[in-house]
Structure formats: structure tokens, C-alpha cells
């Protein structure tokens, strides 16, 4: 763990522990935008870890970004922090200026495409992007698409886009954005290392870190609850059946953290498509199983809105399906493995 990452870890933990309260989460679920928290996050430089220092960012790595993304998941932070992280990276990696304020990404589905076409000297976007995270709250939308046979990164102002509001299970905005010959703020050929479908791919990367963080919370919370809640005259955590279930949760949590961290490390080295697919599959599976164990340990109280457990479990149930579910990514991953053939599997695994 290098120095920047240690500092980042301390900053995010302190900030989120103090500010992401139950009241704040409940208020965000009613549709209120936690503006003060957003500004605190921005002022602490948490949204631009991958933007060079010369452009006002932290000049860090994906491994640094992982610290923030995982913590954002651990605390169920109701803000588009990871979307802004990925968006700001896509823009700066393609030589575009990064606007301040929250960003979001489109498209977020594997088979969805937006059309980018020249109109005189400018570029215009057309098409609909469904279930865009924080669509209504983001100041700008970062779009990756193909134009003239090249991968392009485009920036559109949200004000220029029609927004149809919707939400995920955690009542986070998941809005349809409709572009109709929408003029873009800027567009450029995708920079080195920005693949086609980058919003989908790196969105999946970001969700894997958030889910790993969510599982960290579940393990900690469920273990603590099991030592506090007493039945039959003793803490329920002293029963072997509860211990066994929490050990299983620990295994999934450890696997999720490892898979996500490894995908962020791969993103620093270059093409991370394999590791991102691995992470989204493994972490997504852990999320479902982990939520189930955490709820079982908590009994009826964990099923109430009153108890904070649900802020995380509802997020996990949605996040695992966003930017491609486990089955979607498993098919993609399985096809790539099958195409290389059985004999290439071990050399491939050990060369990554």
C-alpha cells in the first residue's frame, strides 16, 4: 500500500463515516441530492483520481481509485462518485477537458449504441440510453461510441438531453437519456487504452469495487450483530451454525475484494477486459450469496427499513445486474476462454 493510497483510505473513511449517515441515506432515497456531501467529496479530490495533476486531478492510478470506489460501496454513498471517476478518466485520457460537478456514463448496456455524427464543424448525438446512473443529477454525460470507424469519446451537457426518471432497488436514479441531434460540448477520438464499449466495461469495473465494499460492510455488520444479539441465553454468534454461515460470508467477501482489486490492478497495466469480466462474475455472485447470509443472521430486524442493513443489500441486488450481470459477463468470459482453447487457459491465467 503506497502513501497516496493510505492517505486516500484515511480521507474517505473519515469523510464517509462522518457524513454518510442514516438520515442522509434516507433523504437521498426521497430524491434529494446531497449537495454538501458532493462538494466535500469533490474538494477532497476523490472524484478525479485518474485525471493528471496538470489538469487538476490527483494523477493517481486505478489502484488508487479502487480505494475510493470500495469505500463508496462500503458506506453506500448516494452519489455518482465512481461514474465521475470513470468519466473523468475517459475524458482526460482522450485529451478533453473535464468539467467539474458530477458526471455519468452512457451507454450502460452491452448492446446499446448511441450515434455520433458530424454536423458541420460540430458533433451531434442521437439515440436513447436506458438506466443511466444518476442521469438527472449529473451535470454532464460521457459517451463512448463509434463514428467514422473510430472509437470516440463525447461529452454532452445534461441540460441538452431529455431525461426520463427511473430508479434502481436502492432508489438511486437510473434514468433514460434521450439524445435527439444533441450538440456535444466536446468530442475526440478515444485516447490510448480507451476501448470501444468503455463505459460498459469500466462501469462494470467500478460496480465490482462498490460491491466488494458492500460485502465488507455486510461481513463486519453481521459479525458484530452476531456477538450482540442474544438468544437461548447466549450470543447467537456462539452457535456453530451461525459461525459456519459467517465463515462462508467471509470467504465470499475475501474473494470479492481480491477479484475487484485484481481488476483495478489490471486496468493500470493495460487491457483489463479479462480481469473485469472475472471480477463482475465473481463479485456479483458473492453479492447475492452475501446478502442472503447477512439477512439470515440479522433475522427479522434486518428485514426492516429501520435497520441500516437494507441500504447495502438493496444496492448489491441492483449493482450486480448493472453494467452486465454475472451471466452476461460469464458468457463473454467463457467465449474468450473457449476461443483460445483449453491448452491456453493456464498460460493465460499465469501471464496476466
Amino acid at each position: 500500500m503506497n502513501e497516496l493510497r493510505t492517505i486516500l483510505g484515511d480521507v474517505v473513511t473519515r469523510l464517509f463515516t462522518e457524513r454518510v449517515t442514516k438520515d442522509l441515506l434516507e433523504s437521498a432515497e426521497t430524491g434529494a441530492w446531497p449537495d454538501a456531501l458532493w462538494h466535500a467529496v469533490e474538494e477532497n479530490g476523490l472524484t478525479w483520481p485518474l485525471v493528471p495533476e496538470s489538469k487538476g486531478g490527483a494523477g493517481g492510478t486505478w489502484a488508487d481509485a479502487f480505494v475510493v470506489a470500495r469505500a463508496a460501496g462500503r458506506h453506500a454513498v448516494p452519489l455518482p462518485i465512481v461514474e465521475t471517476m470513470v468519466g473523468s478518466w475517459l475524458l482526460s485520457a482522450s485529451g478533453l477537458d473535464v468539467p467539474s460537478g458530477p458526471l455519468t456514463l452512457a451507454p450502460v448496456h452491452r448492446d446499446e449504441r448511441l450515434r455520433l455524427a458530424r454536423a458541420g464543424n460540430a458533433w451531434r448525438l442521437s439515440g436513447a440510453a436506458a438506466r443511466v446512473p444518476w442521469g438527472r443529477a449529473a451535470g454532464h454525460v460521457v459517451v463512448v461510441t463509434e463514428a467514422d470507424g473510430r472509437t470516440m469519446v463525447a461529452l454532452a451537457a445534461r441540460g441538452a438531453v431529455e431525461v426520463k426518471a427511473d430508479q434502481n432497488l436502492a432508489r438511486e436514479p437510473r434514468d433514460t437519456l434521450v439524445f435527439e441531434q444533441t450538440p456535444v460540448v466536446a468530442a475526440a477520438p478515444a485516447g490510448r487504452g480507451v476501448p470501444p464499449q468503455a463505459t460498459f466495461l469500466y462501469g462494470a469495473l467500478a460496480r465490482s469495487a462498490q460491491m466488494a465494499g458492500g460485502l465488507d460492510y455486510l461481513l463486519r455488520q453481521a459479525s458484530q450483530y452476531a456477538t450482540e444479539r442474544r438468544q437461548f441465553g447466549k450470543p447467537i454468534g456462539s452457535f456453530q451454525v451461525i459461525q459456519q454461515n459467517l465463515a462462508v460470508l467471509a470467504g465470499h467477501t475475501a474473494a470479492a475484494g481480491t477479484a475487484a482489486a485484481n481488476a483495478f490492478g489490471a486496468a493500470d497495466r493495460g487491457d483489463a477486459a479479462f480481469e473485469i469480466a472475472v471480477a463482475k462474475v465473481r463479485v456479483g455472485e458473492a453479492a447475492g450469496l452475501g446478502a442472503s447470509i447477512a439477512h439470515q443472521v440479522h433475522g427479522a430486524i434486518g428485514f426492516t427499513y429501520e435497520h441500516a442493513l437494507q441500504f447495502t443489500t438493496r444496492r448489491l441486488w441492483s449493482w450486480r445486474a448493472e453494467f452486465g450481470s454475472e451471466s452476461d459477463w460469464a458468457v463473454e468470459l467463457g467465449r474468450s476462454v473457449a476461443e483460445r482453447g483449453a491448452d491456453a487457459l493456464w498460460p493465460h491465467l499465469t501471464s496476466r
Partner: protein, 382 residues
Amino acid sequence: MQTFRFELGELPPEAEALRAEVRAFLRQELGDTPPVLRAHSWGGFDREFSKKMGARGWIAMTWPKRYGGHERSALERYVVLEEMLAAGAPVSAHWIADRQSGPLLLRFGTEAQRQKFLPAIARGELSFAIGMSEPDSGSDLASLRTRAERVDGGYKVNGTKVWTSNAHLADYMIATLRTSYDPAKKHEGLTQFLVDTKLPGITMSPIIDLAGSHHFNMVVFEDVFVPEEMRVGEEGAGWKQVTTELAFERSGPERYLSSFALILELIREVGKNPSERAAATVGRLVAHLATLRQMSLSVALMLQAGENPNLEAAVVKDVGTTFEQEVPEIVHASLGVEPTIDSGSDLQQVLGFLMQRAPSFSLRGGTREILRGIIARGLGLR
């Protein structure tokens, strides 16, 4: 609450250089070994192969040179282990000695014991078995009853060990025996010994596993004389030594690669253009496999850095053995081919072999339940 740490890192260049060397060796040595034999993983016993490994310096890799070791890093050793397992090399004749008996002697043995045993282990000439379980002592290891009574110049041993893998092939057994008994302190009074498997008074009989194979044994001791100098560590220090020894074996690549041969056959079977369903099955297995490799490697990196990742190692073993046990079930569910013995395709034979072997994955070296108890203790629950 203590949280887990799985810091990731890269293998050093010398370890990666070694990998190429090991692969070239394995291509030559294993040639066209059929998949069903490769599926034996670390169960394949071949003394000649172990001697070749010893000659290459791939046993006792991290031990001091003065004991025949090679003073290489734990990470170089890790690369050799994972390459052996991925290829399905017959490593069983030296595996136990390299993994736990040798390290036990390095840590707790006398100088004379180290001089006598370690160089021979390093050459791949000495095979070890582990004498822990007894008819009435499985998971409850502290209830061991096989007695070692002090007599002139050593100990007289009486009792029975069971499930002793490869005892009929091994030269020595590290036996954990009871030297004193206090019902209130069962963990005390245990002592470890180096026992020559050819000593008079030792009777071995095979315990045939459900597939008809012989690797387990029942080992009966009747007034077996074990000389004083074959005691490992202090009298009564056995429990501490055993738990240390068991910790050596938890996070290695053998805890998630046991069904690797079947994953390869599955990929061969589904071909270059798999159906969506088959692709999803392969993808999920590979996602688990790739993650487990990183987890296992992470523990190796921590060990190399001098840390003590006992809890992480227990987690890797639990998650890893659950995975390797699940693979035959998933292949069955996905392809529905019949598992076979000595007939049918490679896939069918590997499936047949591993389906019958898989129940042992979550038993050997400590049951899943015991392991999860260790993890629960790490979570602050006990």
C-alpha cells in the same frame, strides 16, 4: 473485528523465468500422459519423478543450503508447485515431506535430525506420511490415544492410526502420539515422533476408498520401539507443533486446483464456438479459478514478506476446496455425460475419477467445519 487482507502483488522476474524452465521440463517428462492420470493431481506417486525434481533443485527450495535446500524464495517455490499441479505431475512421493514434514523438522527438529533427513528429502529420496487421525480421533485431534511410553533409550508405542495416506509407500511417518494424559488438559501430553515405517511391531493394512483405490492405510503399533533421538521437539509440545504444521498446508495451490484437469476437458468438449449456456458455465468456473489463484498467490506473497496470514490461509482453503469440489457437479449439470471408469472419452474418465475423489477435498487436512470454526474465531465469534 479483524478484517482480512489480500494484498495483491506481482511475482518477481526470477520466479517467472523459472516458470518457463518448469514448463519445458514437464512437457518432456509428462509427454502424452492421459488426462485421467493428470487428474490425480498431487495424488500421483512416482519416486523416479520426485528424484528428477530433486535433481533440478525443485524440492526443499526455500530451505538452507546446509540441509540440502536451495535458499530460493517462497514465490519461486510457489511457481513450481502451481505448474506441477496445473500439469497434473505425479508429485505425491515428495509432496508431504516438502510441504510439512521438512519444514516441521527445520523448525522443531534436532540438528542431528535435520542432517539425517532434510538432504535426503531434498533429493526426492525420502517419502513421508502423516500419522495424525485415529479410529476415535478425527476432527477432535486432541483426543488422540496412541501411546508412547518412556522406556530405556526411547519410547514404546501402542495404538492405531487410520487414514494414513501412502503410509504403505512412505519411508517415514511423522506420528503425533500421547506421552501423558490428563483428562482436563487433552491438548497437553501430545508429542511428535519420526517413525520408520519398517520398524518391527508395525502392521499396515489398506483401507480401500470408495473408488476401489488404495492410498489410505490403517497402521497398528504393537510395542514398537522408537528411539529417543526420533522425538521431534519437546515432550508435550505436539499440539503446538501440529497446529503449526497444519497451517503450512492451507493456502497452497493444491487447495483449488484438484479439479483443474476437468475444467480443461470441459473447455475441450464445448469447443471454440460454445453455446451461450456452455460459455456461461466455462466463464463462471474461470472467474472462480482466476480469483482463487490471486487469493492463494496473495497469501504466498504475505508469507514471503514474513507475515503470518493464518486466517487468510484458512479462508483460501475453504473457498478453494468448495470450488474444486463443485467442479464435477457443475460439469455434470452442464453436459450431462455419464462418468466412466477406464472407458469412454477423456472427459468422461476425468469426470468419473474426480466425482469419486471430490468428497475428500473438504475433509483432508481438517474438515470444512473445523476450518470454518477457525475463520469464525478470526471474526471474533469464538
